[in-house]
Amino acid sequence: MQITSAVQLLELAAERRQSLAGVLAEYEAFRGNTTVEAVRERMGETLAVMRTSVQKGQEDEGKLSHLITGYGRMFAQADAEGRLLGGALFKKAILYALSVGQYNASLGRIVACPTAGSCGVVPGALLAAAEELGSSDEELVDALLVMGGVGIVSAAQGPISGAEGGCQAECGVASSMAAGAIVYLAGGAAEQVFAAASLALQSHLGLVCDPLASLVEVPCVTRNATSAAIALTAANMALAGIPAVVPFDEVVGAMKSIGKALPESLRETSLGGLAATPTGRRLAREMRERYSL
């Protein structure tokens, strides 16, 4: 069994009269020479690590990160004091994404999804949505399988690293994976899953990877939160039946071309963009002076 595109994956599910989650579980069981049950169990363990990272990320103050500290605490405190706008779902998504992103920067144990730099997007958007929907763990495992499918479709046709494609290929792909999974969790049709993925990725096209001082901190961690918010927005639009117009496979193609057109300075080298601003240069210089070999 091969998965090469969203169109092909949807056809595969239709031919086999199977749910997307069912197809993905069988795909991985075959690929990994194991059973569907073992795949689902491993995904359950992955879910547990995600949840733990959400919890520990809120407790960890960013003890080992360099430029950022206390983001989760600050956000939770502001919420408790009624200083924030918006509904519980969006605030929770932001809180979770910030916490996991900062936990990663602070040497916490996380699920790279699809990358470590974008590891807060999915726990932020998907776990917040699951709590809102009251989903069971079984349903969440299904959603995570489908989410993996969206990621596989992206990886089969385009980059999934900042060095190759910029941040659109990390936070953008993470956001499209989360959007698709949320639609699946909310009971949307298979086509709506990829409409949501398409809409989320469309909103990330052109996003460059320009981290300050070669750290996975600024703007990565706050970008994880905005990408989680985009995932929820895209999922809601798709659930409303708003079309993506450009199919997901074609958006991935556009992302790939844009990635190729990006100069190296905007692909994880910390030579351009925010990294090259006066503030970015100053912080990089300070870090270099402190740590040179």
Binding site: A105, V111, G151, I152, M287, Y291, L293
Partner: protein
């Protein structure tokens, strides 16, 4: 086209912040320990390229030492690896070095155990994946996704045939086979990457081949 693994996308589970500069570095350190085959007492570590430039931000140094201590990339003791190493009597040093035309995230490690020492060069090539490209001066290619049988032997005709025959008898399929030597007639290295684990009996059979000097197996890592 290779099938993309679901858990390569939703995963790996790892200690942050970077899959290439942290998780891959842990695996490089762990590979060195596994190849050495015993506890590491001393490690001289040379960082190349992006590893040398950004090690401090991604804790590449901490990650490499964590691997040398036997930790995997999701081990929550990784942040304390340097303290744990010092407490365990593992001496380590870090310097910057130019290893030539290699991947930007590369390292050379001279690692000593009880009596034994190896020198290994490897790269972290993205997403936590690694490639060991040099071992004790021999060119190899090892990514940790297979079981490995490694021999050091006299560079004479028939040794490779004998070793592969033993594997065949034990029903072990070879996925990749590398043979390397420094000069003709000197010591040579054979590195067989297999789909199946290699039983002790097969290792014993290989050890009995007269021209074979040392045999070692590695699990997947």
């Amino acid at each position: 086209m290779a099938q993309i693994g679901l858990f390569d996308i939703v995963g790996p589970i790892m200690v942050g912040p970077s899959s290439s500069h942290t998780a891959g570095a842990v695996r490089l350190g762990l590979a060195a320990r596994r190849i050495l085959g015993s506890e590491v007492k001393k490690a001289q570590i040379e960082l190349h390229g992006s590893f040398a430039a950004t090690y401090w931000g991604h804790r590449t140094d901490v990650a490499l030492v964590a691997g040398l201590m036997g930790m995997g990339m999701d081990d929550e003791r990784i942040p304390q690896a340097l303290e744990l190493a010092r407490a365990a009597g593992l001496e380590y040093s870090f310097t910057a070095a130019d290893l030539g035309d290699v991947h930007p995230n590369s390292v050379r490690m001279r690692v000593e155990g009880e009596g034994d020492a190896i020198t290994l060069c490897g790269s972290s090539i993205g997403g936590g994946r690694i490639n060991i490209f040099e071992l004790n001066g021999f060119q190899i290619s090892l990514d940790g996704s297979f079981w490995v049988l490694m021999t050091k032997h006299r560079d004479t005709p028939g040794v490779i045939a004998e070793v592969t025959k033993v594997l065949a008898i034990h029903g072990i399929n070879i996925a990749f086979l590398d043979v390397s030597r420094t000069t003709r007639g000197s010591d040579a290295l054979l590195l067989a990457q297999t789909d199946d684990p290699i039983p002790e009996l097969a290792v014993e059979h290989v050890r009995r081949i007269p021209q074979v000097l040392t045999v070692r197996t590695l699990p997947r890592f």
